[in-house]
């Protein structure tokens, strides 16, 4: 059973994604800010992380940077999912080591689930 960590500051979105991934029989853990994300990621060792960018305390870009520099999460699959849609933001996310960059307003819930499955299926 794949383990997924949802990092999202909006409580409704966290709730929705938890339910949706729960229904797809994922083991779901959640974090509501960057700091919590780092501690949960190291403790739970998820297979994939769905990472928001605009969050309190530590931004998603910094979380991404730290995760890639930490041995436990160096190869963990990470999908960035943010409201930021500028090409420069997308490039920054990819450069910092994100496997995928999704723009929130451009994807539906099912597409996110499909993307997660696809990324997990990659070697």
């Amino acid at each position: 059973m794949p383990k997924i960590l949802l990092v999202e500051d909006d409580v409704a979105l966290r709730d929705i994604y938890s339910a949706r991934f729960g229904a797809e029989s994922y083991t779901v853990s959640v974090a509501s800010d960057g700091e919590e994300a780092l501690s949960v990621a190291v403790k739970d060792k998820p297979d994939i992380i769905l990472l928001d960018i605009m969050m309190p305390k530590i931004s998603g870009f910094d979380v991404l940077d730290i995760l890639r520099a930490t041995p436990e999460t160096k190869v963990t699959k990470i999908i960035v999912m943010s409201a930021l849609s500028q090409p420069s933001d997308i490039e920054k996310g990819k450069m910092l080591g994100a496997d995928e960059y999704l723009v929130k307003s451009q994807v539906t819930l099912s597409e996110v689930v499909d993307k997660v499955k696809e990324v997990l299926g990659r070697n």
Partner: protein, 535 residues
């Protein structure tokens, strides 16, 4: 006035000194003259009104007549007062040539009449007296006539000059008044960009006093910077730009730090000042403080972006919850509930679409759409859009296909030429998405075909459908903001009237054109062009 008084005084003296003058006709003339003189004096002296010209002339003429009567009384050509006639002639010429000649002429006539006609027989003695008098009068007339004219010209020139000086002074104080009551800062510079005029508002905005600023180079006083904080006074002074182009220049994104160390954002317009031969002799700048305005604009932008973000978040959540509720793996609901939730879902989608459109419109209208143009293959983009929308088309039983033609110029196949285009891929995707989605919405049966052709400069993309078509009247307005085709067939589909306006704006921003070919009931073809990438 004084002249009149002197004349009357003199005549009164003579009147009492010569009792022979006490005859009735003389008395009448004397009284009339006195009355007229007093009237004219009163008019000019007390009531400060212009005297009647006719009265004045009559008065002068009466002086003349009385003068001759006195001359007659005091001994005619032998009168000791004859010299006064010379003064009269000289003054008459100073007044005008006509009155001069009249006075001189009447004197000559009087002398000839007295000496030659009245004193019969003509005595040689009298002729000896009269001839030198006539010569003297002639001489005096010639000299007075010449110098009188000369004096008059000089006097009138002087008064003209005075008039001009007065007018200029009045003009200048009018200009000063206009400049000082203007709310915009105004300064003028000479050809070395040294300040020559600096108004009150300019003083208030810059903190410089006019007397300190005048004579300094405008770059010392203004120290303008652009929005990237770079000094523009030296390299790209707007005044110099206006001089070299010969036209006025308007610049909105400037700021300067005034004497009180306050940063002021200004918008300024610059115009060259030219002399009669068209050479630039200086320049004028009118500038205003737009700090508050810019701040408001920023606040408005922030508000729009925050509001749209804040509204999008709950919409995403609503969409998510509906998705969960209708997912059989997560929730159990009956058919009716599912039907209503599906309807709610499509409303939510419409709402998010509207939010996105409004945000786009506000960006378009403020000219703040950021484009990041790249060179890419339009056919890849078309395939990707078709892949995304295929589900929507299939659900309606429509076929969605892509017809890729070979690259050809003017009907001839071109080999080895790149088919890449130069545009912002996100905007191009949005354009294609909007047009294809519209085609699916307004088509009940048949197919939608997207094709692309290339010419020397452009790629032309066509989205053709077999839908309801558009009437010629609607075709004219269809790309305008808020325009919606109003009939029962389109009402079912709904919309905001913003989609095609945004689509057109995005095409134009990328350097292309958009147009439609359609017949009511026979489908529509939407075309748009995008510049080809230069290899």
């Amino acid at each position: 006035m004084v002249g009149g008084l002197v004349v009357i005084f003199t005549y009164t003296l003579i009147y009492f000194a010569y009792p022979e003058s006490d005859s009735t006709p003389y008395l009448i003339i004397y009284i009339v003259t006195l009355a007229l003189t007093l009237y004219n004096i009163a008019l000019a002296g007390i009531f400060k009104k212009n005297s009647n010209r006719l009265f004045l002339r009559t008065e002068v003429a009466l002086y003349g007549i009385i003068g001759f009567l006195f001359l007659d009384l005091t001994g005619g050509i032998g009168s000791p007062y004859l010299f006064i006639v010379y003064f009269a002639i000289v003054f008459a010429f100073l007044n005008s040539r006509i009155s001069g000649y009249l006075t001189a002429g009447s004197t000559v006539f009087y002398l000839i009449f007295i000496s030659l006609i009245e004193n019969q027989p003509i005595s040689v003695n009298n002729v000896k007296i009269v001839i030198p008098q006539i010569v003297g009068i002639g001489f005096a007339s010639v000299i007075s006539s010449y110098y009188g004219g000369f004096l008059k010209n000089t006097l009138s020139e002087k008064s003209q000059m005075q008039g001009m000086v007065q007018k200029l002074t009045a003009d200048k104080s009018k200009d000063d008044a206009i400049l000082s009551c203007m709310a915009d800062g105004v300064y003028a510079v000479d050809e070395d960009r040294k300040i020559i005029i600096f108004n009150k508002a300019a003083e208030d905005l810059t903190g410089w006093k006019a007397e300190d600023a005048i004579g300094l180079n405008c770059s010392t006083v203004m120290k303008l910077k652009d929005d990237q904080d770079l000094n523009i006074c030296e390299k790209s002074c707007p005044m110099l730009i206006s001089w070299s182009s010969g036209e006025s220049v308007v610049k909105n994104d400037m700021c300067f730090i005034n004497k009180y160390k306050k940063t002021i954002q200004v918008s300024g317009s610059y115009a060259p000042i030219k002399n009669l031969s068209g050479n630039t002799t200086g320049g004028l700048c009118v500038f205003r403080d737009v700090t508050k305005q810019k701040q408001l604009e920023r606040q408005k932008d922030e508000f729009i972006s925050t509001a749209s973000h804040e509204m999008r978040t709950p919409l995403t959540a609503m969409e998510g919850y509906i998705d969960l509720a209708t997912n059989p793996k997560i929730a159990k609901i009956d058919e009716k509930a599912k039907e209503y939730l599906d309807k709610a879902h499509s409303q939510v989608l419409g709402m998010s679409r509207l939010m996105k459109d409004l945000l786009n419109i506000s960006k378009i209208e403020e000219g703040k759409f950021e484009l990041s143009k790249q060179s890419f293959e339009i056919k890849d983009l078309i395939s990707s859009v078709i892949e995304t929308l295929n589900k929507m088309a299939t659900e309606k039983g429509l076929k969605l296909k892509f017809n890729e033609s070979n690259i050809s110029f003017a009907g001839k196949k071109a080999i080895g030429v790149s088919t890449k285009i130069m545009a912002d891929p996100d905007k191009a995707r949005e354009v294609l998405n909007n047009l294809t989605e519209n085609a699916i919405k307004y088509t009940k049966e048949g197919h939608i075909e997207v094709s692309v052709t290339y010419d020397q400069d452009f790629a032309t993309i066509c989205v053709a459908d077999t839908g309801i078509g558009i009437s010629p009247d609607d075709q004219k307005h269809i790309f305008q903001k808020f325009y919606q085709v109003a009939d029962y067939e389109t009402r079912e589909v709904g919309g905001t009237g913003l989609g095609l306006y945004i689509t057109r704006s995005m095409v134009e921003m990328n350097g292309g054109k958009i147009w439609v070919e359609s017949k009511k009931g026979q489908g529509s073809k939407f075309f748009f062009t995008i510049p080809r990438s230069i290899d």
